[in-house]
């Protein structure tokens, strides 16, 4: 109906979301906002990675009554990007947690979250 393949639509969406997150990350001065924009950026790149593994009219690579072993090779999607993205999601959460921990420490030290206030290591 739309003419575009499913994965192309989601690839464009993912890249646009990553650009939005990048713009926000570079313009905001508040550390919490930078972290939020980082998660948006991360989500966009995950969309891109999963979209590159899609096969036209593919289905999930899980063998049950709906997908037999014989037809798996012709109907299943590429499982490698999916497996990598599961890893990437957990690591993204870990990175977000460390960033938030640093944000809390910085706030406790200076009572502000603006990156303009942290100038000790500037030269």
């Amino acid at each position: 109906m739309t003419g575009l393949p499913v994965s192309t639509i989601l690839l464009v969406t993912g890249f646009l979301l990553a650009l939005i997150g990048l713009w926000g990350m570079l313009t905001h001065r508040n550390i919490m906002r930078i972290i939020i924009c980082f998660t948006v950026f991360d989500t966009g790149l995950r969309l891109v990675m999963v979209a590159t593994g899609y096969i036209t009219a593919g289905t999930a690579p899980i063998i049950d009554r709906a997908l037999t072993t014989a037809e798996a090779a012709s109907r299943a999607i590429d499982p490698i990007p999916s497996a990598l993205v599961v890893t990437a999601i957990v690591i993204g959460f870990a990175v977000t947690a460390v960033m938030l921990g640093f944000a809390i420490r910085l706030y406790a030290a200076k009572k502000t979250l603006s990156i303009d206030a942290f100038t000790e290591s500037k030269w």
Partner: protein, 104 residues
């Protein structure tokens, strides 16, 4: 029919991303980022990757939102911004700059 739903979901992801970047209220921005993640999980399912959709819904959208809530509570920032009426709240940049001056 499902193609239109897919396009709508993509538009919603982009709208949620723009809201997460632009909203003045820190809590609302955080919730909008969680919504972008939630719709991303739906589109992972439409890309036939249910494992990734499950991980994204549980971790990216659930646990990340929780620790963001705790961090906002600890930095005391969401509170200040949430209680302000909308017209009073200026951009995050100006608010933080003012605070920096006050702190210094």
């Amino acid at each position: 029919m499902l193609e239109f739903l897919l396009l709508l979901v993509c538009a919603s992801i982009l709208a949620a991303g723009v809201l997460a970047v632009c909203l003045k209220n820190l809590l609302a921005a955080m919730v909008a980022a969680g919504l972008a993640s939630l719709f991303a999980a739906v589109s992972f399912l439409l890309l036939a990757a249910p494992d990734v959709a499950m991980a994204e819904a549980a971790i990216g959208s659930g646990l990340a939102t929780f620790i963001f809530l705790y961090a906002i509570r600890k930095t005391g920032n969401g509170k200040d911004e949430a209680e302000k009426p909308e017209p009073k709240a200026t951009g995050g940049r100006r608010v933080s700059a003012g605070k920096a001056r006050g702190g210094a």
